[in-house]
Amino acid sequence: MASDTTTVSDAIAKTIADNDVVLFMKGTKQFPQCGFSATAVKILEHLGVPFKDVNVLDDQGVREGIKTFSNWPTIPQLYVKGEFIGGCDIMREMYSAGELHDLICAKGIPHSHHHG
């Protein structure tokens, strides 16, 4: 279980460095355990972006640590190329405006869905 704070934030930093798109969420992408996390997964699936899911329910250290790391009080949290993009509301807002797709393109991340 929970290691000290430095180790947790090191582990989070490594995860977001090693993966282009990371979603810190409650549950897994196959089985989200919270409505907000489910929405975040759906948005990424609509865009056809491969992403790494981190289930914060598996590790209390990460669950609290990610909030401090991002200075963001809630889960889910989306990182793209090491940059914190936002939570469920911001993802939803950006997706509707087409901005999330633009961001994915701008960052050069392969994805299967293209808006017309």
Partner: protein, 78 residues
């Protein structure tokens, strides 16, 4: 304990006196809120920063007693 609309509004107003706040009780249970906050203080800030400012105004309650607040922020239209 859920947070009452008046408390949420007051905390945001204290930090952003110019703010226009629209609160919607999403589930009718005084616990699931949608807030739209319009303030000139958001000028030049990214969306993430704007939300962080509002969360900060709520003094750590977001994600705690206030577990469901759908937030959108905007600048006043000219």
């Amino acid at each position: 304990m859920p947070m009452a609309a008046a408390d949420i509004e007051k905390m945001i107003k204290t930090r952003f006196p110019d703010a226009e706040i629209q609160l919607k009780d999403l589930a009718g249970d005084n616990d699931h809120w949608a807030a739209h906050v319009v303030s000139a203080a958001f000028k030049g800030k990214s969306r993430v920063q704007q939300h962080q400012m509002v969360y900060d105004a709520l003094g750590g309650r977001m994600g705690d007693v206030l577990h469901a607040l759908q937030l959108t922020t905007a600048l006043p239209s000219e």
